[in-house]
Subunit: 146 residues, 10 copies
């Protein structure tokens, strides 16, 4: 079973069981965003988490092997088209240079890691319209001189 089949299997099971990412995350002791990314095939799970995930979703252990495999990460569109994803791309385009300056002023020359990295999604209720709150946390990596 490759990552693509795994993804179809897991998403179908999730729909059948009518479980939310929060419920699944909480059942396996991981964050909802990470759990979703593992099911989408964009992260590998430990042996233990992979099996817990399969138990919660009621799928057999072939999917656990696929969850444990190290993924080759790829996306279809260099410039995303779906409006949800495009807005994130636009944020990177509009604010990328600004963020680089603000972060490097605080931390020195370096980057925010996308590997030693976590992300959370929250809903902030607001009478003028609820807000999506994305929290990204990445280790700062200073450039090495040698």
């Amino acid at each position: 079973m490759d990552k693509l089949e795994m993804r179809h299997t897991l998403l179908a099971a999730k729909a059948r069981k009518q479980l939310s990412w929060e419920a699944i995350g909480s059942a396996v002791g991981m964050s909802p965003v990470w759990v979703a990314s593992a099911c989408y095939g964009m992260n590998s799970a430990s042996h233990e988490v992979a099996h817990k995930l399969c138990d919660v979703l009621g799928v057999d252990s072939e999917a656990a092997d696929a969850l444990k495999a190290f993924p080759t990460k790829a996306w279809d569109e260099a410039i995303p088209q779906d409006p949800f994803v495009y807005r994130l791309y636009e944020v990177v385009g509009v604010y990328g240079e600004t963020l680089k300056d603000v972060v490097q002023e605080k931390f020195g020359d370096g980057i925010m890691s996308a590997i030693d990295f976590t992300m959370e999604v929250d809903k902030v209720e607001d009478p003028k319209g609820d807000r999506v709150l994305l929290t990204l946390s990445g280790k700062f990596l200073p450039y090495k001189s040698w």
Copy 2:
């Protein structure tokens, strides 16, 4: 004075005055990220804020007119090259589909606005290496049916 000249003028003044974005933001009553993006030419300022900014940076009021102008937002590279900005692009590529699913499960069919949108940068000290904390807040916009 167009946005590009304005940007050179303001960044040079900032360097000369040795002011941080935090200090400038706090002096004009706005967030450091927003202030930086306005100085980079990616947002327009109100009359009042534009003039405060020019006062703080010690530049004349021609720059204030440029700060008030509505920008045409553009970026040089459809796929960013600088490692700092690329890592953000990579996050959108790797996690875009995941975030869409997690957010839409919570909020329904729609997007997180990149217009009614704010962003903060924080430094989280950590003995294993300090972390960059980015907090993005965007209004959820449900798709309209008609």
Copy 3:
């Protein structure tokens, strides 16, 4: 049933039943353009509308589930090739900057939403050749300062 199968099913049923988008729209209480876009897989329908649509077209309820699913919106060609669609792209290229200036002069710095958005098509008869009238209505979203 995914959006692609749904689309084939619904368009085939529409052809079989010889119903126009206007007739279908009127039967389900929605606009013809929105109904067509939902059948093409570019918008999600409410439970009620999805089932009405399936009734009108005489297809079973599996299609209704697909109509309710939140779509990932994508298009094949970054620069469209079909002459009908290309002309719209050309209008955006030729008049985009002009529209930005005219709209922002009237409304301030911000955009016209493509999410809180509706569109209608009308036929205007004219002895020199009938005209297509497209009416686009989008909520104005002012940029937030923070």
Copy 4:
């Protein structure tokens, strides 16, 4: 004076005179959108309109010659980046195929002209947020068989 210089001259004059596109359009007897597009260099003006425009804006007749020249229409970005213009591009991507079907069902096989074409911008006040109304009118051109 080429179209680019003309544009700088005319936009600077407009700013100096603090005239809106509506005021200019009404002074020269043309629509605000068309007037703006001519000043941006995307349409040619008749001798009479070109001279009226120069009078209204207080610029000399060299600009009138440039306004009368037939433009080579071009835009910088095949996929627009400014959020205002991108949203229009997104509408074409998301709804292009839908519009083709709805229009061709009403008119037969053919296209909506982008040459025999007019466009208006209106502001619709709304307590939930004002709306931008774009009205596009293009002659329907049936494909010729031969």
Copy 5:
């Protein structure tokens, strides 16, 4: 039967019947170039012509329905690779600007329609090497001011 299947069916029937485009065109009362483009799926035929074409080629009426369908026109390569087609692309690249100037000098600001458009192919025998004669005829469309 979609346009792609139709095309395979019609081209195979043409090969089987050993009919030239001239012979087919003459049998159905249309030009060889138009008939070929309809069989390739790039134009829609009237009810009458579609059925005549199917009779001439000896295929059943399902193909006639496909011939009547309004095509979505697309081509595989933005820059063509086959040397025959590339040479036409090269002509547009090398002479496009020249043709625009020569035509607009004669007709005013506007374009040659690719919709109200016909094209013929002739063979001109020549002892130094036969020549291909392409004749393109398109309605001139003046830009509208409004």
Copy 6:
């Protein structure tokens, strides 16, 4: 004087002298389309024609040297944007495969030369709207086997 300067010089002289391409072509004994392409820098002229052209336009002989130079032919946009030129590109996209089939059926396997090639523009008056007639003539080049 390179081709670009030459072009500016010659087009300015043409405007000053208010000569049409037809008048210039007839004065130098060449076709209007070829003359225009040489002035645009897309073809080289013989010594004699180059000097006649400079005489007719009243420019000095430095331009004649530039007219005689062998050009490097290039165009700005792989996919043209100006509507006049785009329509020609669209014709190549929509009809390229059709033309290849119709021509090769008549001539055998080979191409129409874009080098041993001529082109004319005519205006065909028509009460329903004047038509642009483009006539392209290229030597047929059969593929060599060896």
Copy 7:
């Protein structure tokens, strides 16, 4: 049988028979490079050569029909990736402008035909490392003035 199937059939037969391109070329009286390109689907063969080729390779005459068909020439990668082919592309990039100058100095304004064109491959033994000798011969085509 289309060109792709033909190619698989012929290359498999060649491998089975353990024949070199030289041996096949010599058996059918054509050059090895041309024979290989015909088997790869990039050139059409005469009736006689097509049948000889099928005899030599021991495949049935359906392949001969495919060999006689006029190919649509296309390649997968606008910029080749395989190192063998890339080096040729690099030669065109590095030396293209140089070759144009050297050839046009000798021949006048024009091109080397890629249609009336032949090519040979030879092996030149050399103690410092054998060398590949490619010999390209193309008819010179002077640009036509008209």
Copy 8:
């Protein structure tokens, strides 16, 4: 003096002195193609050759330093547009795969070097039209296993 200035200087001197590449090559004891490529800035010359070249062309020794510099090789168009250069690109596209097969059958798995590489241009007179003969010689480099 960088390579670009050097190139303008050397080509202008060559035009002034009315020397052919053959004459220059023969004067400095190198091949005409190599000499041209060095003057175009695509190869570096030895100290001795650089000074000879400057003597022959009558330019001062600053150009010799530029000729000796190691170039960064680049070309403007990934897909060339000038018809002369495009035909070479087309040859690589059409025959690249064929050449790889023919060469590797003769030499084993490896490539023809574009570094240990020479090229000659010859004119072959022919009553049916003169032919350009390009001779490319590159060392065969076998892939290393390790």
Copy 9:
């Protein structure tokens, strides 16, 4: 069996046998990186090594024939997306010009061969985090003058 099937067969066998690249390399007397690249289809193996590899992995000799075939090397993404591979691409972007200067200063004008080339991977344990050591060795190829 083509290279793609071969790859699936060999990687599946490797997983089944739970052999590391080091173990396989050592069993067949080749480097782990080379062995992996041959199994991925990016290098051809000698008869002897191909058969040893199949023995070690317990697959039949059809795979050995595929291992011996000369590959057409290609990769999916001109700009890689997987973070592991992207970082290598970034290194080439950031340091390519630097390496060219440092290497050419030491060796003269030329390149490092990617054909006569070997590569090793080592793990360097480090309390602050283990390090990946990549060692690339390529023959220096001086540019030839001629």
Copy 10:
């Protein structure tokens, strides 16, 4: 002084002083590759190193400020053209997937950092042709689960 001016200044000074990267590196106590990349504008230097570098090269302290500035890293060509740099790109294309597998087998799921990263160049003399030895060392970063 921006990074571009700094680079011109420092490279000119290096040429004038006839210093090698090794000599400069050794004088400032840093590696030759790192020193070159800092002078090319691709890394920032510490206060101390920046001043030492300026001393060694005999340039004034404005360049030291530019050396200390945090660079925006960018490169001109997404697919490099210079043969030296292209070969490195080709290595990433051909071996990227292989390296990912070999490294992740040794280290687990993660990447080799391009930030906590060093690189050395050595010359290995060899009678069959000297070899370039590139040694890349990057910290292994395991993907975080959360």
